[in-house]
Assembly symmetry: C2
Homo-oligomer: 793 residues x 2
Amino acid sequence: MILSNITPNTSDINSQTIQLMHGYWRAANYLSVGQIYLRNNPLLKRPLAKKDIKLMRLGHWGTTPGQNFIYTHLNRIIKKYELDMVYVSGPGHGGPALVGNTYLEGSYSEIYPEITQDEKGLKKLFKQFSFPGGIPSHVSPECPGSFHEGGELGYSLAHSFGAVLDNPNLIATCVVGDGEAETGALATSWHSNKFINPETDGVVLPILHLNGYKIANPALLARIPQEELIKLMEGYGWKPYIVAGDEPLKVHEDMAFALENAIVDIQEIKAKATQTDSKRPVWPMIILKTPKGWTGPKYIDDKPVENHFRSHQVPISDPINNEDHFQQLEKWLRSYQVDQLFDDEGTLKKEYQQLAPKACNRMGMNPHTNGGLLLKDLKLPSVKDFAVKVNSHGDIGPGDTRSAGAFLKEVMKINSDEKNFRLFGPDEILSNRLNEVFETTNRQWNAQTKNTDEFLAPEGRAMEILSEHLCEGWLEGYLLTGRHGLFTSYEAFIHIIDSMFNQHAKWLKVTKELPWRRRLASLNILLSSHVWRQDHNGFTHQDPGFIDHVINKKASIIRVYLPPDANCLLLILKHCLESKHYVNVMVAGKHPSPQWLSMDQAELHCKKGIGIWEWASNDQQDSTDLVMACAGDIPTLETLAAVSILRKEIQEIKIRVINVVDLMKLQSTNEHPHGLSDSDFDALFTKDKPVIFAFHAYPWLIHRLTYKRNNHLNFHVRGYQEEGTITTPFDMTVLNKLDRFHLVQDVLNFIPKSGSQYDYLKEKMKDMLIKHRNYIEEHGIDLPEVKEWKWNL
Amino acid sequence: MILSNITPNTSDINSQTIQLMHGYWRAANYLSVGQIYLRNNPLLKRPLAKKDIKLMRLGHWGTTPGQNFIYTHLNRIIKKYELDMVYVSGPGHGGPALVGNTYLEGSYSEIYPEITQDEKGLKKLFKQFSFPGGIPSHVSPECPGSFHEGGELGYSLAHSFGAVLDNPNLIATCVVGDGEAETGALATSWHSNKFINPETDGVVLPILHLNGYKIANPALLARIPQEELIKLMEGYGWKPYIVAGDEPLKVHEDMAFALENAIVDIQEIKAKATQTDSKRPVWPMIILKTPKGWTGPKYIDDKPVENHFRSHQVPISDPINNEDHFQQLEKWLRSYQVDQLFDDEGTLKKEYQQLAPKACNRMGMNPHTNGGLLLKDLKLPSVKDFAVKVNSHGDIGPGDTRSAGAFLKEVMKINSDEKNFRLFGPDEILSNRLNEVFETTNRQWNAQTKNTDEFLAPEGRAMEILSEHLCEGWLEGYLLTGRHGLFTSYEAFIHIIDSMFNQHAKWLKVTKELPWRRRLASLNILLSSHVWRQDHNGFTHQDPGFIDHVINKKASIIRVYLPPDANCLLLILKHCLESKHYVNVMVAGKHPSPQWLSMDQAELHCKKGIGIWEWASNDQQDSTDLVMACAGDIPTLETLAAVSILRKEIQEIKIRVINVVDLMKLQSTNEHPHGLSDSDFDALFTKDKPVIFAFHAYPWLIHRLTYKRNNHLNFHVRGYQEEGTITTPFDMTVLNKLDRFHLVQDVLNFIPKSGSQYDYLKEKMKDMLIKHRNYIEEHGIDLPEVKEWKWNL
């Protein structure tokens, strides 16, 4: 349904509708309790027996009845207006609700045919929940209709906003838990409404579910005056509707009307948006205040449970050994009057079945939630059109990310009809020198503007807010619903989303193992303003450890690239944008810097991912004295400068230069699919020669990747050692002993050759370091001969 | 000054005061521009020459004049009411402002005597800024009066709240940048006001500085209607005062009155708090709307600069080569009329000097900002009082963290007069089983309460909110101002604060190198609900990689402990609470589990940090066939179970069991101060025997730590391999091949012995794994013989 064409009305809200919805809700609640407790007797056709009860009872009841309530109401409104709606479950553990509801609507059985809509299927549905070999207790990838996992809290709203970008008629109803609402990521996510274009994007309908409690504490937003909460939501730019109570029939009625009101608002905003009204709309949201563990036991062992944090997990803890508990459980289960809801075969009765939407309108079958179904390959231009010309090795290029920016501009241009690519950054797209994208697009922004602003517009392919959480969350939501994108950030501060990366990598791992889940576009992260070039930001901005973090995740999911120059970056970037179902991390420089490979050379090099640079080496077969390896733009620069010195000063030292673009090449084949075989590794690094490895990040990562290799004991790695401050670019390498002068000393120390010219060169290197130190402390800039290095390659 | 005793008045606000403050502000602004641009001619006694200008100009002008403005006004109010106030600079790069102001008030020269308050000192002050060998461009540890580093954005408010806890008469004035305000951490930090006790804690006075722009974008909060912004702040529970404009004299007057209004509110709240009024107060805050780069050049190269993002860094980019730029710079510098502000010697004129507070009232000298000055050792009880009795190895204990909770309860009790210890957790103190603390304290909470609540009170030593960012930020603020604390979290979600940990570790590293900075209490992090015991949460809650992240930081700062049982945890916890200036990470179990060491044994073991468990081993000197090493509670359990099997089934295999408590023992002495010498390492692990290492976290971390050791090639490490779901506790180890049955197979595969009993045992292990799988898929609980294991040690 085109949202602007809806004709809202409330004619269907009457006591019969309410009664039916109430029945449907009871069915969902019953299925929820059943999943947590039962392994047999799923329809309670006979008295509950202890052997019907699971030996281990794991799950989360507290949030579940509220989510069942919401789902039931959304079904009504979807069906009535033929809405295209997805359900995002923010509270951590709503598993029983979403599993139960997708089962009631039929989605579950379509995806898992063994879970039939009858007594036998019900029994399986119950048993598999939170059970070894079964399904998790939260809204996991296994759950139909889910594209947001309720594992770590805080990202539901951001994911919802990512989902509706470029989907103008999609509504993402996002249930925000009042616990989750306390997280930082969620607290800033409310502001996402300033980035949505009401004409070209869809609608996020947040439902803040105030059930009042977290694991063992009240929720903050449930414990401030209502007027404060309303102001907060209005201050965030929303129009809140409040639905509150614990009398089901009354709350059903209020909720139905609140949703109708929201539909009225949405229709009006959408209708206006097609005119020239570009004013930022105030979107509706709902505050739903119902008891935690609603309809569950009110007291257990004389302690309040319903409307208390004690209903968070499994309220009745010991129904097998404790007779009171056992009786309470049976009473609770029977309170839903299951025999009125399901027929004798265990199938939901017809009058309730017809409440659910049909086919892809069912939230469990909405294709946006299995984004690979909708994914179209990105059209990608030839990288040759953006190649940096390299007349001789060491020519200065325009800045590697600058070339990437030109490429991305073209990507945006040729995919502009599909509207399926976006660039995300925390106010760092310009700082990371991807400027050229703004020649073809703008930053999407729907807050106020001034005529001195640059590149802001209600619609644009770039999304910028100073929140790494939101950039990452929006992008994840965009990818999970079948589109493409790139996140660019400063290298150090990408750690802000370490945990979000974890969750996404886990989602990719699990969905890869589910046949019905289709592959998504990769999560692509381009890091610049990296550790070696924090000239004006200093120590706080220096941390190259994100890649250490990344490679702890499954090898089948993660990829790490360190392109040494612009042409390599272009090739790698294209490769990442083409890839599916990975997390690709690229680290690249942004400053004008030496370029090493023509596009043709770069193509060969990147294809291999690692290789000998013969033009820089002077060894022949079997004559190698030593290998100088490098990974990353600055380490490559310093390595080649060191080689320059050595080849000029002592030609007899035979050096092999190896550059690593694809970091995972270093691992064994059986640890990472990209890994080199041992023989290939030996062919590159030799079995017994010293290897001086200049590395972009923390040095021990190279040891971790290569410890099984034959020649590993000869590896000497230089990298970032947590030494740095505001200083010159070259001095950063000196502080961490990764610079050319230290590298030459390393070579002289590690090869088994000596002589007067060796001693002379060692002394010269020491002198250069002193000269460097004195010069920068006097002038504040690098030695001219370092800045304008004479290459001898 | 006792805040409730203040008698507010505005009698001093007149045109003379305003004019003087305006002069002081100009002086601070001049010093700021001087720091960014000048290396000579600091008083402009002669015409500006190109050689006076730094060759490299790095720094951030945009935020600076606003912060100078605020600092000037705070000086007035501090002096007038004798306030104890600290200044927290939220915007990233206010360095020139804070350095300049602490110089003007004299603090800077007291700490750095070579930076004198005369022309010579001024020249040094200017040159050192953002210069190799000098000081960073942001409010770094080198800056007097700073305890919050403006590196990564988002933590200023959280740090401020941490600072005022238990400091009832301290005011932390927190300048929140409008860029920073977009971050998740900051967005939720506003809610901290619900946790402050107006009687026993101090005051956070936020000043939201809307200068309108970030690096290259407008700031969101500057682009919403003012009424929305006011509602937002009121919704967060604050009373906002708005000061806006660009006419300095008018804004000075408005700001002076706004601060007086804030003082009136603070005095009233404080006065009421001493009575029985426990209602949560609405604290004042100020929204200051002034142009970014205020008083700087309005246009450069015909582009707007003042009140635009172009003033973010160095507004005039090329004053040495571009004649227009050069002239604009001189005009800008002279616009402050430096000769009216400083005397001929370069000393601030008397009439301005007297505007600054004196001695420790100066914000640059406030002892809270150099917390070690105020730090008192924590009183710690004997751990023996909390020892778990171990009659025989393998006795089941009450849960390791439960014992830690009993110990922490006592810590709280005996330090209750000093009020210098707090426990922080994201709603996980109970879930991590530290229950007993609530027998002596409560969770501090000043939002609404109900009579069914538990352990909530206006004052308490525990702080809980579902935001790892706030827990960490509050604790950091508490530590940085000279107190002690502990953060307890789920292991997986501690990654949420990876980047905060980075920044704090960097702060510790740099302050350690500054002689005037005193040592702080360590940042102690106790992780439980760890990767191996996520029975009901599953895969999303499994990530043991925080320790990989931690050990990338300086070895002199970081410590990692994996106590295998309750007595070891108690000893380690005490050790960490006694220590200074580290980040200590402890990972411990919470479930009832086997206990290995009596308190006496544990004491010996923890003192060494690593050791042979002779009671579990059956090797003699030189007879060792194989080493079984373990680190972490679950790996220790599985290792000892495997040893039990082996010692029962094939006595001839001589096994040495090593347990590692202090992970950094594995590294070399020259890499970590705790590291074992190579000979000590060899004495433990042998030089040539197979080592089967069962490890709590990702296995390759052990390789990373030991790759230089003699016997490293014989290390076979089992750990978490990103395999897991909802399943039984034992099955988690099976999925990752860390369980006893796989470990026994490992042993049989790696020792060079064979025979029929070996083949028999291999088959038996395989059978056990099949039996296990069948049993859990039928019953959903672990095999009885695994749960009630018969130890044979």
